[in-house]
């Protein structure tokens, strides 16, 4: 029922939008001013210097769109099969119309630009300068309509004419066209219910994505208000906004373009896509780390600190371990994981042994880690002589206590009254500290010169050895971005890559197909190799051994693949091993798990250690991958990623696949935030971090969503898969939080009581 209401309401809103919202935009300039076109052929110019443009077929687009929308809205009143068929038809009509219309629009703008190009080079044809080839230019002018304008401009430059700025650039779809497409897609999607099987799949998908999707939508809606408040409609110098329609169209275009910029760079260009992946890489690690903790019923807010320790570990290996890359690099990755893991194990141990709450301890350790990094990278930390003596004394006392613990009588005393023993040791240490701290003659302050700190006041370490560096994507293809900046076209052995990928796919895929699995391991390997050989030969024959590929200048490095591997590891560990099962059981119901034989203290330490190790692996991106300007440990390590990881884990429902997808979405938003910062004068990238925070808030408060959406049992009833309860009775768990979808960390709340 609500599905019908929602689609119908959406269609009606779109009907209104078709009248008042820009359908497409062109002449988008710096500062985001543009001329927009409203159906049919109503051009509103915000740049102040764009002549209207006429696009054929707009009337038809308008009426077909209106017809489609009316059918969608009206179809909601029909029942069952008729509705679904109507929606299928109308959806196809809407998408077809909008796509065709936008193509027409693009062609018209391109044609107008070609004419402008002809006009621009006409004077040079009539009166060429010595270095200009008039014959070639005339030819270009005649053929201008046949090839893309950008190509013509490039060719004209070769012929000696530099065409600087052509009008009508930057054509893009507008808000109304987008809404039409969305309504069309929704109608198609829900129309699929004609086939019951597709309907069931649809239901399952909808249940899984309902909460995150609604939360994201609400967060974007809230951000829309902020965007509209902050950013006035960008207009050219002499443009006067006349009339309510122009004002409204301007507002809608501002909003639409802000969101378009936010997503289009990452999803529409190769470089943007790679950059988004690069932003996503550390978030995958931290998201996995937090999600892993959640699964075990632990709240790891310590990812920032664990990131720092991982980075420090990676730096040490990268600076001091000699040897070839295949030794140093794995060692560095491993030590990064160990560093983060040990830092994570501390609060795990404190919780397991002393019942100290891990939330507060991980927060405290974040501060300690930050101080530690600052200390290691500060230029010349100075200790007074007496302070050094105190530190030495403390070290001695700790060492002596550890040795003392090996002596049986001391151990016995410790066991009988641990507090008294500790107090005794503390008093001895305190008295000793006061004694040694007395100033003596000839005291000189001790200045530490840490060997890994790069000289100068900049808080960074020396650069890692070549062997410990993970090359960025362009460098992997032998491109030196300093020599040839920008996008480089290089021949790539695509045949080998595709053949290798096919081999892996066949090997993995064969394991899933029963008949092939029975052939055994050797058979699968043979099949994989055979397919790869055939593919390689075929592709080599068509010349794909040196396929020219455009490699954009991106920060992306293969640590992204390590992140994906980590996700696979987490999935296998959690869902395919005994340990993982025990951890999840502990997370869901600690008491029951303990009764079932789970070793809770050991699990707590292990879970925190693995969680910390995942966070520590961010060092592969930031230190080994050189994502911070250069291949060194820098104090600018963005530890905020550790907190963003909480949001990523929540959005990804603590599942590795969800986490990777959520991290990618955040990567897109972060990448788009920078683009938005540039495109608009009054917007800042912080709008994005606000959106992220709102997403978390809405997901956390999923209780505000209607029950039938969040509660699987009630949802099944609403969909008619389950019989309705007889009047007066409530379904078990239906009215309470007992049957919630497993999105939020299970039992984190319950673990609070023991701090």
């Amino acid at each position: 029922m609500s599905e019908r209401l929602a689609v119908a309401a959406f269609a009606l809103v779109t009907l209104v939008a078709l009248w008042v919202a820009p359908w497409a935009a062109f002449s988008r300039e710096t500062g985001s001013r543009a001329a927009v076109i409203l159906l049919p052929d109503r051009v509103i110019d915000f740049t102040g210097r764009t002549d209207p443009i006429s696009v054929p077929g707009q009337g038809a687009v308008l009426w077909l769109s209106v017809a489609g929308l009316v059918v969608v809205a009206g179809g909601a009143a029909l029942s069952g099969r008729a509705r679904h068929v109507a929606w299928l038809a109308a959806g196809a009509l809407l998408i077809g119309t909008a796509t065709w219309g936008l193509a027409q629009f693009d062609a018209a703008v391109e044609a107008r630009r070609a004419v402008a190009f002809q006009e621009a080079i006409a004077p040079n044809i009539a009166d060429p300068r010595p270095n200009q080839d008039a014959e070639r230019l005339r030819q270009l002018s005649e053929e201008a309509l046949e090839r893309p304008v950008t190509v013509s401009v490039e060719l004209a430059r070769e012929a000696g004419v530099v065409v600087r700025r052509l009008p009508y650039g930057g054509s893009a779809p507008g808000f109304a066209a987008f809404l039409t497409l969305v309504v069309g897609a929704a109608a198609l999607l829900f129309g699929l219910r004609v086939w019951p099987r597709a309907g069931r799949v649809l239901d399952r998908v909808l249940t899984a994505v309902a909460i995150p999707a609604v939360s994201i939508a609400l967060a974007l809606l809230a951000a829309a208000v902020v965007i509209l408040l902050l950013q006035p409609t960008p207009v050219g110098r002499d443009v006067v906004v006349a009339g309510p329609l122009m004002a409204l169209a301007g507002r809608l275009d501002t909003l639409w373009h802000a969101y378009y910029i936010l997503f289009s760079g990452s999803l529409g260009t190769v470089k943007g896509f790679f950059d988004a992946l690069s932003f996503a890489t550390p978030l995958i690690f931290t998201g996995l780390a937090v999600g892993f903790g959640f699964r075990a019923g632990l709240f790891n807010i310590g990812a920032p600190g664990q990131m720092v320790l991982g980075a420090i570990g990676a730096m040490f290996v990268g600076l001091y371990l000699p040897g070839p890359a295949w030794v140093v690099l794995p060692a560095a990755v491993l030590v990064a994981a160990v560093g983060g893991g040990l830092w994570g194990a501390i609060p795990g141990f404190l919780k397991a042994r002393f019942g100290a709450n891990e939330v507060i301890n991980t927060i405290l350790l974040n501060f300690v880690a930050a101080s530690l990094m600052l200390f290691m990278l500060s230029s010349s930390p100075t200790f007074a002589a007496s302070a050094v003596r105190v530190i030495q004394l403390i070290a001695w006392v700790v060492a002596a206590s550890l040795v003392g613990l090996l002596v049986p009588p001391v151990r016995r005393a410790m066991r009988i009254s641990p507090r008294l023993t500790l107090a005794l040791v503390a008093v001895i240490a305190l008295v000793g500290a006061v004694v040694v701290a007395q100033p003596r003659a000839g005291d000189q302050p001790v200045v530490l010169q840490l060997p890994f700190k790069a000289p100068g006041s900049e808080p960074k370490s020396y650069e890692l050895s070549e062997a410990a560096r993970i090359p960025r994507l362009p460098a992997m293809f032998g491109i030196d971005l300093r020599a040839t900046p920008g996008t480089n076209v290089v021949p790539v052995d695509a045949a080998a890559w595709i053949a290798g990928l096919l081999a892996v796919l066949v090997f993995v895929g064969a394991g899933a197909v029963g008949a092939l699995r029975r052939r055994g391991f050797q058979g699968r390997i043979l099949a994989a190799l055979g397919v790869a050989a055939v593919a390689y030969a075929t592709l080599a024959a068509v010349g794909w051994r040196a396929l020219p590929l455009a490699i954009p200048p991106t920060n992306l490095n293969p640590s992204f693949l390590i992140a994906l591997a980590a996700a696979v590891f987490v999935w296998v560990f959690l869902f395919r091993t005994r340990y993982g099962y025990e951890l999840r059981a502990t997370g869901l119901a600690p008491k029951a798990a303990e009764y079932g034989g789970a070793n809770i203290p050991r699990n707590t330490v292990m879970a925190m250690a693995i969680s910390g190790a995942l966070a520590g692996l961010t060092a592969t991106h930031y230190v080994l991958g050189g994502a911070l300007e250069d291949y060194a440990l820098r104090q600018s390590l963005p530890t905020g990623d550790g907190f963003d990881g909480i949001a990523v884990a929540l959005l990804g429902a603590n599942h590795p696949v969800g986490t990777v997808l959520a991290a990618f979405l955040f990567g897109v938003l972060k990448n788009g935030g920078s683009a938005m910062n540039i495109a608009f004068t009054d917007l800042t990238r912080d709008v994005v971090s606000m959106v992220l925070a709102l997403v978390v808030l809405f997901i956390a408060a999923k209780g505000f969503l209607p029950d039938w959406l969040t509660n699987p049992l009630r949802r099944a009833q609403a969909l008619g898969d389950l019989p309705e309860e007889p009047a007066g009775g409530t379904p078990p768990g239906g009215g309470t939080a007992g049957g919630e979808a497993p999105v939020i960390a299970p039992q984190v709340a319950a673990s609070q009581e023991d701090r």
């Binding site: 408040l229 902050l230 709240f299 807010i301 404190l350 042994r353 002393f354 100290a356 709450n357 939330v359 507060i360 301890n361 927060i363 405290l364 350790l365 501060f367 300690v368 101080s371 530690l372 600052l374 200390f375 500060s378 930390p381 100075t382 200790f383 007074a384 007496s386 302070a387 905020g640 907190f643 963003d644 909480i646 949001a647 929540l650 009054d682 917007l683 800042t684 912080d686 709008v687 994005v688 971090s689 606000m690 992220l692 925070a693 709102l694 978390v696 808030l697 956390a700 408060a701 999923k702 209780g703 939080a737 939020i744 960390a745 984190v748 709340a749 319950a750 609070q752 009581e753 701090r755």
Partner: protein
């Protein structure tokens, strides 16, 4: 050591303690009612922002006519605004975690994340840069003599210690608040509204943390800077646990942290220890304390658990 230096150290320790004390006392109301308030950090930031902005806009008309004009009431309205905004943010935390029964820590984390983005967006909208607000001319006054010249908020913070003690342990309101945090079912059965008490506790904590923020921006300084709080909310939370959820314990714990912060600034020249080492000492100490080496700290029993009315 000379008395002058010691006095200066004591003075700056008291100043450093003030925002921690506000936030920790506030956190006490929230946690005693059974709601973990990890959002203190964010509320401090929102309070600081509100205080600086409201003070700026209240004094603006007078300042444009005469730069340096004294508008004595401007910072006080700023303080009021910080309290209101603090209560408002606390209310959001309350709605999400009490009404919608979200995980209280997640809700708090969301508010802290919001405190990173929202101030930057607001500042960009008002002043065109995302890091600082415009400076204000009328800060809070200073009362006192010599090294002991303090903002009124410092006195207020220390006055609040006996006051909160009285409210928590000697009034019906305090009794109910504690009951709701210890055994909500029992409290509910004698007719106390668990929800209302928890709303009150969380919003009060917002008011207090907002005061702490106001002290940072218009008490100790003359503008708002992003990340001004620098983790004070988290430190306050640690102090709250360290102080065993008791006003006097909280006073002691925050004084300890404040003293270390003052030491860090006093030893800033690196005379004795590198400041980074001094910085991390209180955190390590707190961890040892939480691990029970110095004595156990027992939380309100029902903390962190949403209340399901049976």
């Amino acid at each position: 050591m000379e008395t002058v230096v010691l006095l200066a150290l004591l003075g700056s320790a008291l100043r450093a303690t003030t925002p921690l004390l506000f936030a920790a006392l506030g956190g006490m109301f929230s946690e005693r009612s059974g709601v973990v308030n990890i959002a203190l950090e964010g509320i401090i930031i929102f309070g600081a922002l509100a205080a600086a902005l409201v003070t700026y806009f209240v004094e603006l008309p007078a300042i444009t006519q005469n730069p340096g004009a004294s508008v004595w009431y401007a910072p006080w309205i700023g303080v009021l605004a910080a309290m209101l905004v603090g209560a408002g943010v606390g209310w959001i935390h309350a709605v999400v975690s009490i009404r919608y029964k979200a995980d209280q820590i997640i809700s708090g984390v969301a508010i802290n994340l919001m405190a990173i983005g929202v101030p930057a967006v607001v500042l960009t909208g008002l002043f065109g840069n995302s890091a600082t607000s415009a400076t204000i001319t009328n800060r809070l006054p200073r009362w006192g003599e010599g090294a002991f010249q303090f903002s009124p908020l410092v006195y207020l913070a220390f006055l609040l210690v006996p006051l909160t003690w009285y409210v928590l342990f000697r009034t019906p309101f305090g009794l109910r608040l504690r009951a709701v945090g210890e055994h909500p079912e029992a409290a509910d059965s004698v007719g106390i509204s668990v929800t209302r008490m928890r709303y009150a506790g969380v919003m009060l904590s917002g008011v207090f943390a907002g005061l702490g923020g106001a002290y940072l921006s218009i008490g100790g300084f003359n503008q708002f800077i992003t990340e001004m709080s620098g983790g004070r909310g988290f430190i306050a939370l640690a102090a709250l646990i360290f102080g065993k959820w008791h006003p006097l314990g909280v006073l002691g714990a925050t004084l300890l942290f404040g003293a270390f912060q003052a030491l860090e600034t006093q030893l800033g020249g690196g005379q004795l220890l590198p400041p980074t080492v001094v910085q991390s000492l209180p955190f390590i100490l707190t961890m040892l304390v939480l691990a029970g080496f110095v004595g156990r700290s027992v939380a309100p029993k029902a903390i962190g658990k949403p209340f399901e009315k049976g």
